[in-house]
């Protein structure tokens, strides 16, 4: 459009709308929720500023970090354990997630199938979806509490907690990926006589494989971060060391442990991102 005519625009429908009632209502709701939450959480910036002195003391007591051989050894062991927990958790989670996701994927039913056949297909679908939802909606720290109570302290219940939660998250993401895959090649296989399993293995799965790898790596990243926390409820990993040192007021050791954790988390993030970038879709 070279030269817009202002007169003509008014005939089309007047000025462009800036605000409508939906937008205004949204803003009101967000503001209302904010105010209510500030009141409910006793959110107070002034208190944060006046509390700066104790916080400063806490931070200054962390320096210099404790770099003695014993502390470094504890840190190394804790980091390794956290790493192992997170990896095994993601791996087992992926193994459990895959079949559940496959069952919990909404694939087009055979055209002209009877109501009975459709119902029969719907049952495993909903069961798989329900299991995945339970796995996912319970946070991993709660799973850790449950497993610690059942199995005692240590990295094993922590790993199980990560595995269960990872299975739930990955299962949901896997099945969404499987559903979003281009359907034409899958339909083409079905049209030449592939059954559900054949169409899944050769049609959906190959098309979803790269996203699966990417999602699993990302879940591993998340697990590294989660595994750090799980130690607070006694489920192993470096968190347990951090908690012990905190309770002993050994802040220089806390500094070393936290610093090491940050470095490892950053390294794994970088590594995982680099691998995911190289995945061929």
């Amino acid at each position: 459009m070279a030269s817009p005519h202002t007169e003509q625009r008014t005939t089309i429908g007047g000025a462009l709308p800036r605000y409508n009632w939906k937008m205004s209502l949204t803003i009101l709701v967000v503001l209302g929720l904010t105010g209510w939450s500030v009141w409910g959480t006793e959110f107070d910036l002034i208190e944060l500023l006046t509390g700066a002195a104790p916080a400063e003391r806490f931070v200054s007591e962390m320096f210099p970090p404790d770099l003695s051989l014993a502390t470094l050894q504890t840190t190394g062991a804790g980091i390794l354990e956290t790493f192992q927990m997170s990896f095994l958790g993601a791996f087992i989670g992926a193994l459990v997630a895959l079949p559940l996701a496959a069952i919990g994927t909404e694939a087009a039913p055979t055209v002209g199938a009877s109501t009975g056949e459709r119902l029969l297909r719907a049952i495993p679908y909903h069961v798989a979806r329900f299991i995945l939802n339970v796995f996912r909606s319970v946070p991993d720290i709660l799973w850790a509490l449950i497993f610690v109570v059942a199995l005692g302290l240590g990295p094993f219940p922590g790993t199980l907690a990560l595995a269960v939660h990872s299975a739930g998250v990955l299962g949901k993401l896997y099945s969404e990926t499987l559903e979003a895959v281009p359907s034409r090649p899958v339909e083409a296989l079905r049209a030449t006589g592939a059954d559900g399993l054949g169409a899944f293995l050769f049609g959906r799965l190959p098309q979803a494989a790269s996203p699966f790898a990417s999602l699993s790596l990302y879940q591993w990243e998340c697990n590294i971060r989660s595994a750090t926390i799980l130690g607070f409820v006694g489920a192993g990993g470096i968190g347990q060391q951090i908690l012990i040192s905190m309770n002993l007021f050994d802040y220089p050791k806390v500094a070393t442990l936290v610093g090491a954790t940050i470095i490892v988390v950053l390294l794994v993030d970088r590594f995982s991102a680099a691998v995911r970038r190289r995945l061929v879709y």
Binding site: T110, R184, L189, A191, G193, A194, G198
Partner: protein, 275 residues
């Protein structure tokens, strides 16, 4: 195999894609199906594999009512129907050789499919895959990811898949719409040789010149059969009638207005036309 459509209708929402179409083809026949885009050609083909629900009528393949078969027997009938599409519809991430081997998928049970998935195609199937790829001139490409092949090469992979499948009915849905003339000739040659081996061949075509090389032409217009007969008897007037109102053959259309009637935009015909 004999293919027979008995008064079928297919409806998508309010849109009637196929209205009351009856069509018979004898075993080993070669039929070109033509018509403007949106005339219902692809929908007709999808009905032939029970991939779209019918609102009325019946489809018989080899004398068996396709829409009333139980699952297992449906698989058996579909196993004998080979398909090839404008958009190739191969699995892009798999090597070309595996896509060719998938011509055999209809003949695999669950255990066979699982074994093939885990350990690759068996020796016999591998041999046939190699031979098929050689025949379409892609002998070197068995291990290449399908997505790395050109469009023409992918269409030849799809043809090689047909060669492995050895179907008794071949449905080709605009197989030449996205490939170069050389590939067109090669694909047509292979399809004709499959027909020579006894397969019934139904080809959807947009290109009337290619359709004229088929002994029988069926034309669809607005979901109805507008012509069914020999290539010679299909006059230019008849053709003009068939393609009237086709947005892509816009010879007799007035210049499209830059401000289309808003009521027309919402008709949503394309959702049907594209398939």
């Amino acid at each position: 195999m004999e293919v027979s459509l008995e008064k079928i209708s297919v409806t998508f929402g309010k849109e009637q894609a196929i209205r009351d179409v009856s069509l018979r083809s004898e075993p080993g026949e070669m039929v070109a199906v033509i018509g403007a885009s949106g005339a219902g050609k692809s929908t007709l083909f999808r009905a032939l594999t029970r991939s779209v629900p019918l609102s009325s009528g019946s489809v018989e393949i080899g004398g068996r009512n396709l829409y009333e078969l139980p699952k297992r027997e449906l698989k058996g009938v579909r196993r004998n129907i080979g398909t090839i599409y404008q958009a190739y519809n191969l699995v892009p991430q798999l090597p070309a050789g595996v896509n060719v081997a998938l011509g055999e998928i209809g003949g695999m049970g669950r255990m066979d499919a699982l074994r093939t998935f885990l350990t690759g195609p068996g020796a016999n199937l591998t041999h046939r895959v190699r031979a098929a790829l050689e025949q379409v001139g892609l002998g070197e490409y068995a291990a290449v990811r399908t997505t790395n092949l050109s469009g023409g090469q992918q269409q030849r992979v799809a043809v090689a898949r047909l060669l492995v499948q050895r179907p008794s009915v071949v449905l080709a849905d605009e197989p030449f719409a996205a490939v170069d003339p050389v590939t067109t000739e090669k694909v047509l040659e292979t399809l004709t040789s499959l027909n020579g081996a006894g397969a019934t061949l139904l080809v959807n075509l947009h290109d009337v010149e290619i359709a004229r090389r088929f002994p029988r032409i069926v034309a669809l217009k607005d979901g109805r059969v507008a012509y069914d007969g020999s290539s010679e008897a299909l006059t230019e007037e008849k053709l003009a009638e068939i393609y009237r109102g086709d947005p892509q053959g816009a010879e007799d259309k007035p210049e499209p207005s830059p401000y289309p009637d808003p009521a027309r935009i919402t008709e949503g015909r394309d959702g049907v036309a594209a398939h």
